[in-house]
Amino acid sequence: MLRSTFTAFYRSFTRHPLYALLNLLGLSFGIAVFITLGLFFRFETTYEQWLPKASKIYIVENAWKFAAVRTDPEPWTNGGLLDNIKSDNPQRIGTRLWDHNVTVHMGANSTQEEVLLVDNEFFKVFDLPLLAGSKSAALAAPDNVVMSQPMAEKYFPGEAASALIGKTIRLTDEEGTHDYRISAVLKALPDTTAYKFDFVRLLNRSLIDRTTSWERYGSQRLQTILVFDTPKDAADMNAHFPAFIDRHAANQFGDDKPSHVLKTMVVPLTSLHLEDEKTRTAVYVLGIVGILAFLIAAINYINLATARAGMRAKEVAVRKTLGATQGSLRAQFLCEALLTTIMAALIGLSIVELSLPHINSFGDLKLKLDYAGEAVPLVLAGAFILLVGLLAGLYPAFVLSGFKPAQVLASSRTPAGGRMALRLREALVVLQFAIVIAFFIMGAGFLSQLNHMKTADIGFKREGLMISDSTYDPALTNAQREAIWAAFRNLPGVIAVAGANSAPGDNSLTNNTDVSREGHVGRRPSSSFTIVGTDYFKTYGGTVIAGRMLDPTRGEDIYIRWVNGEQQDPPRGETANVMINRTASETLGFKSPQEAVGEVLDFDDYKVRVAGVIEDMRFRSPKEKVAPMLYLMDRTPYRHSITGVRYAGVPEPVMRQRMETAWKAIAPQVPFKAVSGVENIDKYYKPDRNRSNVFSIGAGIAALIGCIGLYGMAAFNTSRRAREIGLRKVLGASSGKVVGLLVGQFLRPVLLANLIAWPLAWYALTQWLSQFDDAVALDPLIFVAATLVAMTIALLTVGGLALASASTEPGKALRHE
């Protein structure tokens, strides 16, 4: 019995290769998309879950709740938070993670890496597996350092991890240059983590004492991680936080009660990666695309299998006369569906294996099929695939096994399952094409937004700009900084150089404070401010829209003064000039930028006057609103100084090389790193582009599967109607008329599909676009174009078949049965 099923299955491949190929390929590609996007979905949703006791690890977040400025919760806190928590509850386990640049000295070479300064309970929070060393001793001494496996392999290639324990490594960071003793080597971490733990060492009291605003609540200095045994413990802590903040941050926010302007909470560390609702939605949408692609393939199977049912009617009838029961026939057809699905799953898996490297590079992903490590989810996915395959086989099995042998054997007509089945098949084609068209529209919508972001005016020119935060390195002296700026200015091709606290990219230092119009009370908007060098606007290219640019030759335009190496605000009673951006002018309530010019603002306890207003510069994510900004000028912005270089007429690598050469001549001991403006801002655009690329692959293949299905349906319907076509031609129909008839039959479902696709795609796109601060308007042309593309594909798919069938001689067609 089983062997007979296998024989029938095998023969359906060798004897009807087109049908089998369409069916199998469609299903295989559907499964491949499903597996790939499933891997993507799993990758994105399992961040930090690999950590031992991951569910107990929580991170503290802060969100501003000012009247005018509300921010999303961000996982950064002030430095002193953990000490305050521990003083309230000494039992609470936790650690700070404070990220710093570190220079690694190896012989004459020095390279820049990152070091994480942590508390001594680090390993009680992050129970990371070690290659060598012991967790209890790893952070016992302040001159111990823990290294990651990649770092150990980079700096001590070919050496066993255990051989590194006790060796020293020279590092320069915030606390100067010291030799550290390697106390442990961490096992390489999986890709599903935001952390690297390249170098980990103890956070020392001396550094805390030298750091300003350590106790300042709401400042974003470092990450505070806590351990809670149960979600209830964490919830209790969250309920307790307002009172906690009011107690520990008393008087830090002027007249405001701290808990009224600052919301502090703990969230599971595992939830952080997809905390942003929009990102989460994007990931879920991609997961759904995977399921839909598989669904389209399953629909194909149902359609093709039922369409072929007609051709197998005789076989069913004969089997029944030979004593086959309906049950045994159902079992046979379900078995065929199962075998097809298993084959398709294996082919799909091979497609995934073959294409993953390409998909990974195309979408900048790190997906892999980990059969051993991910056995359970893979088995579950396999079970789901088989279940869907069986369900897809169910309908054809019932249709086929229900054929009445007497009727089938009596007539030369092959049954198609009746009017119901025909309707159902048409409905399935409609559904399939609706998904395909919706995918087309969404793809086009994504592209237009991505293209818009690439070309949109973001307030400054991304090209011809180099940014280096190496001037921030504490190992540099102020004299070296000035020498470097001067050297950069003299490089051929350079137009302007400026040090500043902020630059495009995420390494900016911006502070938030209360700014309001003088004499205005009530609404107290907050604003960011940043300290900029004299050529700042020339370097980045801000456009003045009202008033004038700050002029370094005028004393009142300089806000920051340096007295004996100390940075100082202007003396009381003096009103320095500042620039503000358009958003600040609006937030402050000026009717126009012009109205703001010359106005005096209360800036903390100081007064400043608006010299000019510049157009907003989008230094960060296109999803973030541009913050209201005050620009304070400093002739020598030594502190937290990021250097921008505007140049022209020189290729980027050449410029980078010239800068590096100039740097090495002045500060050879400090590593130099520079990124281009395009590169540094691109990280905000990349995730969306990557997701959009993944979407395009998924949607493109889904569309292909849809077309395979349409072709298959068309092929079978056309062959089923061969006699009718012959008859029509005998009665005088022209080939053109017949083609029209056949094509029309398929265009109708495709047209109908638009009715479903348009609102669906519109909804999905509006949702997706709403995450961008600067979103394109939805172009109706996208919808029309997607429909036209789908129609063209349908036409080409069906048209060729129809033409071939229509030009067959009628005599041949009539002999067909």
Binding site: T321, T325, A406
Partner: protein, 235 residues
């Protein structure tokens, strides 16, 4: 063996469509004994195929009883049997031969013949022997690995006969088995059927050909769904 195999009692078969009622068979009573070779004759549309379908249990009479005697002598009314048991009945007791052969295109001749054993219980070991025996009987053993479309009409029909007899059924039902064949091949098929009958097989054959009907042991004529005469022939 002269005991009764089939006893049809007042079999009527009505076909109802939306507003038309057609009587395909009307009050047919007929007994057939084991070892008979019955030819059913009549013009197109007289109901002879319906009668054969009812006999073959792939069509159910609207009223009347269809008693079928098993080896143990017990009779069962097939008109009231469940579909599942009818399927079993067909597998155990019946063999079908069609005008258009109805071999499964995707299966080889051997596999087609094997289908005749597939839905029966057990006997796995002797299957091969039975199939080869059936193929020898109709002379197509050399075509075992071919597909139906590679064979001539006569060869295909012989293969179909092999499939019908491979399970040694109590009754062979043949629906115009020579209708699609030329004279020579038709004669060959008739020779095989006669041989099977001589060997003890009970055969009911629908035919348009008087000369082929003459070779049966008994002729039943049908007109407008009713039995006209039943003539026992002496060969």
């Amino acid at each position: 063996m002269t005991d009764t195999l089939i006893d049809l009692q007042k079999i009527t078969r009505l076909y109802r469509s939306d507003d038309v009622e057609t009587t395909a068979l009307h009050n047919i009573s007929l007994t057939i004994k084991r070892g008979e070779f019955v030819a059913i004759m009549g013009p197109s549309g007289c109901g002879k195929s319906t009668l054969l379908n009812v006999l073959g249990t792939i069509d159910r009479p609207t009223s009347g009883a269809y008693l079928f005697a098993n080896e143990d002598g017990k009779s069962h009314d097939l008109a009231r049997m469940s579909e599942k048991n009818l399927a079993k009945h067909r597998a155990r007791h019946l063999g079908f031969i069609f005008q258009s052969f109805n071999l499964v295109d995707d299966l080889t001749i051997y596999e087609n013949i094997e289908l005749g054993l597939l839905y029966r219980d057990g006997r796995k070991g002797s299957r091969r022997q039975a199939i080869e025996g059936a193929m020898d009987k109709v002379g197509i053993a050399h075509r075992a690995r071919h597909f139906p479309h590679q064979l001539s009409g006569g060869q295909q029909q012989r293969a179909a006969i092999a499939r019908a007899i491979v399970g040694q059924p109590d009754l062979i039902l043949a629906d115009e088995p020579t209708g699609n064949l030329d004279t020579e091949n038709g004669a060959q098929v008739m020779d095989i059927l006669k041989g099977l009958n001589k060997g003890g097989a009970t055969i009911i054959m629908v035919t348009h050909s008087q000369s082929h009907a003459d070779q049966a042991t008994r002729q039943v004529d049908i007109l407008d769904g009713q039995l006209v005469a039943s003539v026992a022939q002496v060969l």
